[in-house]
Symmetry: C2
Subunit: 250 residues, 2 copies
DNA sequence: ACTGAAGTTTGATATGGATCAAATTTGACG
DNA sequence: CGTCAAATTTGATCCATATCAAACTTCAGT
């Protein structure tokens, strides 16, 4: 922890090392050739640390950067004037936050850290400039943004057409596959978010989420104790989601 | 109509004239300087015409272009393996379709024309290339895509937190303001889509949509006969949407 | 203008999940 | 390690909207 703090403090003067980052196959470096990596490293502010509950940025404040999760996890949400909140996404290491505000003056959402989390910051102005010089990177940005639109449409679909059980099964499977891509167990993981956040994200009441969890548990599909979850029967979960496109939920 | 067909046939050899287009303040030319406009005109395929019900492109087919609506209107939707459909957006003149597939191999949705519609086609490969040379255009593309993500999040919000009345009021207000920006009456317009599409888009049953329309009518908030709609009391509609962000629905 | 199909409206009924209420568990912090 | 607030679970009830059914209207094609 002491080390982490020091890391934070010396972040900007220290040269970033995307090439040594374990997430280089998930994050932006993925799209950049070996010899161009340095240019990405030139613009990134590496290793900012946030404690649980802290905000990376706030809705309606001036939008200056995108952030890649390095470790930990993040939730984004939009809030109406009336105070209603809608969680719009959960982000895991290697995923990029702030694409919905890439080219707008203010952040369209608030990004809140769900646990102690480290992020890399990409100033949008510099990133935009760099994408003009690195076609692969530009293409990747378009790709990520397209993907984000698609995810969001899938979420809309989930919200408008699926039952509580289907929504929760879809979320569990999405998390599972994302853990797997990060070389963690796809069947045995700890949820980064509270039931409350799940409920809000999926357009359900907390009580409903809780009930579905216990129902799944009674059916022997999962084992859940608090945030600790074990998927006992992935096929059954897939059967629950039925025809819902599995990848489409963040 | 004869003229329209001829226009279609000679589209590619004919030089596009974005600078003379009445939509140049809404569409891509908006972001391009006078003297660079020619370069945009070089890549656009202008004036393709579709008859009501025809598809501009189909989900899962190879994605090659974005399309700007020139006249008419379009709906986009995603369809699951199970055949479930979710309408993801309605598009009016000057709006760009296909951003969710900008940098993916296949189209993520199907674009269906709601009435006789003319579109301009922007091949993605050329567009991407051009954005590298025209920073303003690149910025605009990022902006449009960010916007699309935001819209989609607002839709998710609408679907998960709002009642049938609120959803329909929000849609009517969104259409209203979009008609207005196109110099058409904001209170007196004809819906381009069927009740069915509205229901699907808003995650409601057709019957519910119909009922809410008549309820609004009985309250003297709107007058609706088929697709012909008149907003009699915009303030009342706004009161119905309450704290829902009004711009956030397509 | 005629006709059938598709779209829309209206009514009656059923239900999934919200809401209200309260018990139980977890976990942060002194 | 004890305490209190927050998170989670469980139970009882209610309601907005889906669903089922059927009449009515619109409109494209002949």
């Amino acid at each position: 922890m002491n080390q982490a703090i020091r890391l934070h403090q010396v972040a900007s003067p220290l040269k970033a090392t995307c090439n040594k980052c374990s997430l280089s196959n998930l994050c932006l470096p993925l799209a950049v050739e070996e010899n161009d990596l340095e240019r990405l490293e030139d613009i990134v502010l590496q290793g900012k640390i946030f404690n649980r509950g802290e905000h990376i940025f706030d809705q309606s404040t001036s939008s200056k950067s995108c952030f890649a999760v390095r470790s930990g996890s993040v939730k984004t949400s939009i809030i109406t004037e009336g105070g209603d909140e809608q969680v719009t996404g959960f982000f895991m290491p290697g995923e990029l936050i702030g694409l919905d505000s890439m080219a707008t003056d203010n952040y369209a959402c608030t990004a809140k850290v769900l646990e102690r989390t480290s992020v890399c910051e990409f100033p949008v102005a510099k990133l935009e400039q760099l994408t003009r010089k690195l076609p692969e990177l530009q293409h990747h940005m378009y790709h990520l943004m397209s993907q984000e639109i698609q995810n969001s449409h899938q979420l809309a679909m989930l919200l408008s057409k699926n039952t509580a059980e289907e929504r929760i099964a879809a979320l569990l499977l999405s998390l599972s596959s994302r853990f797997q891509r990060r070389r963690m167990s796809p069947t045995n993981f700890s949820l980064p978010m509270a039931r409350n956040d799940i409920a809000n994200f999926l357009g359900l009441a907390v009580e409903t989420v809780s009930r579905v969890f216990t129902r799944f548990q009674n059916q022997g599909i999962i084992k859940a104790r608090g945030r600790e979850v074990e998927l006992l029967d992935v096929e059954a979960l897939q059967r629950v989601t039925r025809d819902f496109a599995r990848q489409g939920c963040r």
